[in-house]
């Protein structure tokens, strides 16, 4: 492959999408390492597979469903004790900058 498989700008963007922050060092290291994996993946990228049906699931199972019947629920003490911050039985989070997209 002639061009870089992935640029530092792309790695920065992807890190943001994944809510990760990279130092300068990490950025160059990860850019190189991800590049190596993507270069390896170029064999797959190059395959002509237009007629092949993608397979997202290993087994051909369909229509697994459950009845609309209530099941036992958790007590708030079962999980609120594990939460980093709680107020009035709810999970407390720092101020949110944007609306739900």
């Amino acid at each position: 492959m002639m061009s870089e498989p992935i640029t530092p700008e792309e790695v920065t963007h992807v890190a943001y999408l994944a809510r990760l922050r990279l130092t300068e060092d990490e950025l160059s290291r990860f850019t190189e390492q991800l590049g190596a994996v993507l270069t390896h993946a170029a064999d797959v990228e190059a395959l002509e597979l237009d007629d092949v049906e993608p397979m997202s699931h290993p087994l051909p199972v369909e229509n697994t469903m459950r009845e609309d019947a209530p099941q036992p629920m958790l007590k708030p003490s079962d999980f609120l004790n594990e939460a980093p911050a709680v107020e009035d039985g709810r999970f407390l989070v720092p101020k949110i900058l944007g609306e739900q997209p």
Partner: protein, 483 residues
Amino acid sequence: MTSAIPDHYQSASSIAANVASGEISAAETLEQYLNQIEDNEKDVHAFNLVTIDEARALANEIDKLVSKGGNPGPLAGVPVAIKDNLCTRGIPTTASSKILQQWKPPYDATVVRKLKEAGATIIGKTNLDEFAMGSSTENSAFGPTRNPHDFSCVPGGSSGGSAAAVAAGFAPIAIGSDTGGSIRQPASLCGVVGVKPTYGGVSRYGLLAFASSLDQVGPFANSVKDAAIVHEVIGGFDPLDSTSIKEAPSPFTDLLGQGINNLKVGVIKELMGGIDGISDEVIARANEAVTALSNAGAQVEEVSLPAALYCLSAYYLIAPAEASSNLSRYDGVRYGLRVDGNNLNEMNINTRTEGFGDEVKRRIMLGTYALSAGYYDAYYGKALKVRRLLAENFADLYKDYDVLLSPTSPCTAFKIGEKVSDPMTMYVNDVCTIPSNLVGHPAISVPFGIGSDGMPIGIQILAPPMNESVMYQVAETLEQAGT
């Protein structure tokens, strides 16, 4: 001391029989194993947590049940070590990650529940590569596990703690998870039996997801028969897992002891030197396994699995893609670590940046990239098509062959620190095991002698989905030939 291999392994089936008959109590059995842990755990570091009190309580319950004449179950008093990515109610479940910060789940994984119901005593939570991402157990936030055969070597991974626990005699049985070889490869490197069941054969409910369409829970044991017995216990339909299979397979121990006369075995040539990176010594040993099966009466032929060439690439697109989504939930809101910030976004970023190790970050970013706008078709979409090709290759082969054979790992256990700086070199460790995960088929690794370095070598037997009984049948023959 540089190794910790006991002289003798007790089989799970004999423990269960002795406990059920009252010959030896579950409590005494447990103490034997706790002593072994006491002696060697500081060198091996197989466990993130040894649950001594809980294990003693479980053992006492079994003994009480036996004294009352009750049926204590097929694993009565058998100590079982659980990979620390399976939920245990009220007991920290960490995935060897800082981000979970000793999170205590409010529920047991289905597998854990079934083991307890079968009379097993859960003895502790074993170390792993963080979120099961790795092939050496070096990517653990709590430090690496060492190979009981040689403390300077890795045990393989990601279920390195479970494999090491069984090899070191800390427990006769351990449970692991296998997404790209994470049970079979450490089993091979530690000289124990390791099984990846058919996808959907064992419930994933309560398994901290790495790559949902590839993850399967399975057993480690010191014998093929023990593995089959435990597989029987943990397997079966679970209404809590939509991907679990409703149809019951034929009992896994059914064909044990029957020999393999006239069975047809295909040897995958791409994994016997066709693909670079598999050591000559391992290939030579695999050829001896071929001879052994042939001597036992099987018809053995070389076969081709052309799509195997692309499996590594496909896997390292699909698994990270699913992982990037599965690991989003570790955001500092509901459980585990929170590193504060001025606003939600900063808190999310601080928490994840601090909480995840490098390998996890790499795979999350790789997966995010593979799914992101503009790259989906080129990477993720293509990888899913390779998966289809591979499934078609396998289906063709299974028209003519009962099982397939290959090495489990391209090499014996390597030194701690040797491959950790180069992800791509590390990823190649999975080249023989990945195909079974991509198509959801079962496979087993059976110890078959040692290499020139004195470290164990494992042979892999692959079988069609839901056909584990024949897989165990062939594996047992290999086990007998190898010892």
